[in-house]
Amino acid sequence: MRHTISVLVENKFGVLARVAGLFSARGYNIASLAVSETLDPEVSYMTIVVEAKDEKVLEQINKQLNKLIDVITVTDFTKKEYIDRELVLAKVNYSSKDKAKLEAIFRKFVGKIIYHKADTAIIEAVGDQSQIKQLLEVLSGFGIQELVRTGRLAITN
């Protein structure tokens, strides 16, 4: 099962390697990872989506993360109310007659065209897991040439 964890860490070199190394050394899988500075430039915020087969693994991940000296706090979102979002950029096949079709899609689903040329459009979408999933299913009908995603960001509400 996938779980979302956020980790506040000291913004020092090598911290990302410590966190990533902890996962690889113990055989845990990272599904996505997003890192950036917070309001306090000395602190970074990581949103990590992990695969954990049971509660015990998740508990170990939490405890092991807490053991790292540079980790300030760990928040497991599993039992919390939270908002999560992901940004996706998709390069899809495009022709001028698709314009109306895509616009119809974007009335129902998240996303917009941010660039297009004769045969290609780039779609930008921000949404939660299921919104992004639905959008990608619809877009796959056009033929997705390339896809980049930020990984999940999450914040408690």
């Binding site: 090598g14 015990k56 405890k63 000296i69 540079d70």
Partner: protein
């Protein structure tokens, strides 16, 4: 007044109370060795290999409870420390390892003798630092000592580029380190302690199971009081040896793969396990789903990640063993002895005593017993890894903490001899033995020069059976006696010791064991005693890997 980075480092080590540093010079640590040349703030011991320096620092830390310090150059000097650092990490030993590094301008350029040692040691240190700015150096050294010695201790590495060693700045001794992200918890949760006390009072078949945490926190006196107040038998892990007096009537000795049969049977029959500073390692639990099926578990440990890692815990208590036991004792004045349970344990002791069959040749168990007798259980016994280690664990009656010095978690052959050097420097008044095999001793035998040069008086009892004995034992029992690369030749250990300026004694007959040991003890020099022992003697009892711990081979009278 301005000081160089090297001078600041040495001044900080001195102010941290460092008495001795073990190490080896080299190109990128030259400025620090130059500063050492006329520095008299602590003793420096030149080992003959950086691995020896790391293990010696480790042995010193285990005996004294203080932080062990080792110093090496960049690249190969640093990578040679790696085994020693990993060893300290697995056994939660406080250590600060300092390495030279190529100048900051060259880092990442594959410079001569460059290795990314902070990257390499990330998973085997509690924390590590690359010092990029001399202004951070004093603070980093203070933090390193604080982190290494607090909470669950462990090794911390400081990588010090050459340009930082020669740079100059004003020396300011920093305040006590405060880290917002690191606050070890020492006192137990009062509610949990109350619940634990209740469970203990209700239990009919309690057993206390302790590990290295008892030694680290100095909780032996509290443990003894707890055990006596609740009339519970006590068993321990390899790392817990010495935490409880082995001749006490409630003692069950070591449990697990080579533990006593009665300890293993007792814990399987218990209805309550009070685990303190132990981590339910696979060598202890055997097959996990069959381990102590009827027992509830109270687990006291300073490291939350050790709790509920392997077994289901009913009452977790995060805290320091000494403090938590003291808190627990406030809620438990006296629990009456439960006769049925204690009689059952006594019967197990009678039914499955520790024993071995006498043979014509010298038996290793007998050698250890003679060392015990001659030193009244008061010596410091270091060990290598393998059969020698298990015999030393089983047949010596340890009476005090910090007297059994052994590589528990990592199982590092070559640990014992350099560790004995550190142990002797940490406790010069004690007799220090290294119990070795003919295989292990050859892994760091170069440290004989360190002993002789510095007049470090350690006794090395080589249990010489011509085999890598523990692997041979597994081959005998589980690989149809196919002795693949376990027969091993050795140099003439007597001549070898003599060539270094130490003393060598060879013992081939049982009746000479005691007098040879006595002669070694009386000799004011390092002594190698080469005991030619029964070649295919096995360590029993033994629980095969992956079996339930009451499925025991051998050791029956």
């Amino acid at each position: 007044m301005n000081l160089t980075g090297s001078q600041i480092l040495l001044e900080c080590l001195k102010r941290e109370g460092v008495e001795v540093v073990f190490g080896y010079p080299g190109g990128q640590i030259l400025p620090t060795f130059d500063a050492l040349y006329d520095f008299d703030g602590f003793k420096f011991i030149l080992t003959r290999h950086e691995q020896g320096a790391a293990h010696a620092a480790d042995g010193y830390a285990r005996v004294t409870g203080k932080v062990g310090v080792c110093l090496a150059t960049s690249g190969p000097g640093a990578t040679n420390l790696v085994t020693g650092i990993a060893n300290a990490f697995m056994d939660s030993i406080p250590m600060v390892a300092i390495t030279g590094q190529v100048p900051t301008s060259l880092i990442g350029n594959d410079a001569f003798q460059e290795a990314d040692i902070t990257g390499i040691t990330r998973p085997i240190t509690k924390h590590n630092y690359l010092v990029k700015d001399i202004k951070d150096l004093a603070r980093i050294v203070r933090e390193a000592f604080y982190i290494a010695s607090s909470g669950r201790p462990g090794p911390v590495l400081i990588d010090l580029p050459k340009d930082v060693q020669v740079a100059q700045t004003e020396f300011i001794w920093p305040e006590e380190p405060k880290l917002r992200s690191y606050n070890p918890r020492y006192d137990g949760h009062p509610g949990q302690i109350k619940r634990a006390a209740k469970l203990i009072m209700e239990s009919k078949k309690p057993i206390i199971y302790v590990g290295g945490g008892i030694i680290t926190s100095g909780a032996s006196a509290e443990l003894l009081k707890l055990a006596e107040n609740i009339c519970a038998p006590v068993t321990w892990t390899l790392m817990g040896i010495g935490g409880f007096p082995s001749l006490h009537k409630q003692s069950l000795g070591m449990l697990g793969m080579h533990g006593t049969a009665y300890a293993n049977h007792s814990i399987m029959d218990a209805d309550l396990i009070i685990a303190i500073g132990a981590r339910f390692d696979d060598r202890v639990t055997g097959r996990l789903d069959m381990f102590a099926p009827g027992a509830k578990v109270i687990h006291i440990d300073i490291d939350p990640s050790s709790i509920s890692k392997n077994v289901k815990v009913h009452i977790p208590i995060v805290g320091d063993a000494k403090q938590v036991i003291a808190e627990l004792l406030e809620g438990i004045k006296h629990k009456p002895a439960i006769a049925d349970w204690l009689e059952h344990v006594e019967a197990l002791k009678k039914k499955y005593p520790m024993c071995y069959k006498n043979k014509d040749k010298i038996l290793p168990q007998y050698v250890i017993q003679q060392i015990d007798e001659l030193t009244s259980g008061e010596a410091i016994i270091c060990t290598e890894v393998g059969q020698n280690q298990m015999w030393a664990a089983q047949w010596y009656n340890y009476t005090k903490p910090r007297t059994f010095i052994s590589s528990g978690g990592l199982g590092t052959m070559g640990f014992g001899f350099p560790a004995a050097i550190g142990a002797k420097l940490g406790a010069p008044e004690k007799i220090v033995f290294n119990v070795a095999g003919d295989g292990s001793i050859q892994m760091n035998i170069q440290e004989l020069a360190t002993c002789v040069e510095n007049k470090i008086n350690v006794k090395v009892a080589i249990l010489n059976n011509g085999y890598l004995g523990m692997v041979r034992q597994w081959q005998e029992l589980f690989y149809k006696r196919r002795y693949s690369y376990t027969p091993i030749t050795s140099p003439d250990f007597v001549k070898l010791a003599e060539s270094y300026g130490a003393v060598g004694i060879r013992v081939t007959k049982k009746e000479d064991v005691k007098s040879a040991l006595q002669r070694a003890i009386d000799t004011e020099n390092t002594v190698f005693i080469d005991f030619l022992i029964e070649e295919e003697e096995n360590v029993f009892p033994m629980v095969p890997a992956g079996e339930a711990i009451n499925n025991i081979l051998g050791g029956l009278a």
